[in-house]
Symmetry: none
Subunit: 212 residues, 4 copies
Amino acid sequence: MSDMMDTLRNEKNMTPKQIDILRAAVELIAEKGYYNTSTSEIADRAGVAEGTIFRHYRTKKDLLVAIVTPVISNFSAPLFAEQFVAQVFREAYATFKELLYAFIKNRFEFAQSNVPLIRILLQELAFHPEIQTVYKQQFSEKVYPALNQAIDFYKQKGELKDMPNETIIRTIVSTILGFMMTRFMLKPDQNWDDEAEIKQTIDIMMDGLGKV
Amino acid sequence: MSDMMDTLRNEKNMTPKQIDILRAAVELIAEKGYYNTSTSEIADRAGVAEGTIFRHYRTKKDLLVAIVTPVISNFSAPLFAEQFVAQVFREAYATFKELLYAFIKNRFEFAQSNVPLIRILLQELAFHPEIQTVYKQQFSEKVYPALNQAIDFYKQKGELKDMPNETIIRTIVSTILGFMMTRFMLKPDQNWDDEAEIKQTIDIMMDGLGKV
Amino acid sequence: MSDMMDTLRNEKNMTPKQIDILRAAVELIAEKGYYNTSTSEIADRAGVAEGTIFRHYRTKKDLLVAIVTPVISNFSAPLFAEQFVAQVFREAYATFKELLYAFIKNRFEFAQSNVPLIRILLQELAFHPEIQTVYKQQFSEKVYPALNQAIDFYKQKGELKDMPNETIIRTIVSTILGFMMTRFMLKPDQNWDDEAEIKQTIDIMMDGLGKV
Amino acid sequence: MSDMMDTLRNEKNMTPKQIDILRAAVELIAEKGYYNTSTSEIADRAGVAEGTIFRHYRTKKDLLVAIVTPVISNFSAPLFAEQFVAQVFREAYATFKELLYAFIKNRFEFAQSNVPLIRILLQELAFHPEIQTVYKQQFSEKVYPALNQAIDFYKQKGELKDMPNETIIRTIVSTILGFMMTRFMLKPDQNWDDEAEIKQTIDIMMDGLGKV
DNA sequence: GATGAATGAGCGTTCATTCAT
DNA sequence: GATGAATGAACGCTCATTCAT
């Protein structure tokens, strides 16, 4: 949980009450959804007067955006900018499989620490243009180009089948998202051998997408 | 659209007004979400008095359930009961790949005719226990057992890798859902060669899940 | 009071509750001002649920406009269009003084029956652009042109001093308004000999503005 | 503007911040009215913390009273006490017309320098008993008696018609107020020949009220 | 003296639901 | 069966005021 608040604390200085508000809002919205959570409930759980919420966030929607924006940024952070692409080209990963493994491990841990945040993102994305804007920009400007370059690179090395990058990306994203949603949201209480499951999932993807 | 109303008309006899209400509700809820759609808006668009809605549906929630329940039933209908499993055992499909193809083609067409309904299901599932109950029951009692039996069958025939059925199912469902959501909801306006895309997707799944 | 409601009922069909709401709103706003009157108070006094107000008036401001607009129209109604000017030219009034007398008598009675409405108009005009718009349009398109034509007419007949029409109008309006506000708002409880006071006021204006 | 602050600075010693607060409050309240101006806005414009306002004025209403009271005092100051009446009896003004001219010139200049303050007084008088009390006391104890004595004096000299003093006062006040409100508030941007307009207005009053 | 975070009562408004017609 | 006026609880939000620093 403290981990989760780190994701949100990307901002400069927050008062303790502001942190309480964020934490309460995340808990309630993750559990019941944005429209089923009233600002008075959030204030109650945060141990704060309702007006205090609006001192820190102009509107309830602003509060939601303050929760969701850092998740979008952080989730795709590893793909950012030169860092990621540079590593690929510097051959930091011997194979695409190794890259995939490193990537999934890293994002798996992030997801694990931020389940409520990611749940909110997934649940509310459909309803709030404000979030969609942030998401689309992040995806089209950061995530997609980075993945695209990496895939081109490994295609040239002959490691990936000759099919549209978009299909490859869609398959990878669907598979990873499907795994993580099952793992953390649908059946979090099942006994999971995470390491085995990740490896299994990567094997499937590599067999499906990789060249023999 | 008439197709979509067929999906909903599974019920007994509906008056024309009731159909108008359902159609209006589907359009509005698909576009703006359940909580952003008021019953007065629905009544307006349906050309009906607000009270009339409550003559047919006790509550607004009931109306939502009336929309979503048939989608859940119909989407998994082909997997229902003996029919599907019987066909598998009767070797109606020469290979798992053929089964997959038949299944996806069929569900693709259903999805195409019911985009707004499916959008509503996916968007609202997270927020309404009433829907979750229906969904879980349908999945655990119908979908999962059917898929399970089929997968066991093809495993014995040596067509599928030796991995947990749950992993196989999760991969298939994720990949198909990822494809259909991209196709119909995220990028519906892109130029799609549906037949090629479906075949491509099946090839990936077969390479990933199938035995060489 | 029933007279006052006539002024407001210019609209088509109003339900009894809507009339109750208007009456309550007029009473409270006249007494305490728009910003000191809450919609819940209005609902209470009208014997109506608060929501009922918003069924008839989209916003609180709309309610105010519904009160004030008819007052503006009705107060200047006698000056409207051809009727008034035509009468002047047809020499329905032998002298300017007679015209003034007829006009003041008539408006005096209107004011007497609509004190709360006029109080609201005068009090709120300064704060609500919505009202100002209606007022300015009415004054510049109806009131001012009518007075202007009438004054020109009596100037040519040699009954009025040669001074700018605007000065004449300002003097007349100030004097009449000053009288009526004193009579009905500042000292309504003083013993007034209305007929004498009106005649006196007209004499003053005629001596001040008329040619010897 | 510095002139306007002089009107308000009648009080003891004011810190620079207090002056900033007053100035900001006057600007905002004159423009938007008391109820449309929040203390936080005033603090913002004054460059002061919100709490600072309440260090100098116990309540927001106190702040309003601090603005409006000096206007009331100053506007009627020339009529104050013995000074004015003594001058009249000492025959400092040859005629009532001269008195009127001196009075109007003087008050015109005061009004010109204090438009925002007077606007606030006129706009808010109706809504705040605290202001009404100050106003009534000032008028009934200072303004009215002074005017009354002066009018009696000139009546005895045969310069004024024989009509109730109250009617005379009402006419004068209405005419002057009507002129000044038109000049400074309704049409401040029109081209005005102030000297001519004042003389014209006095001529009208004298013809209307004076004996031939 | 000055600050500004915190308060909480109160506001205007929405909307699912009821019910007399 | 259908209507739509009426309801009232609940909501997001504002703002004058307080008080620890």
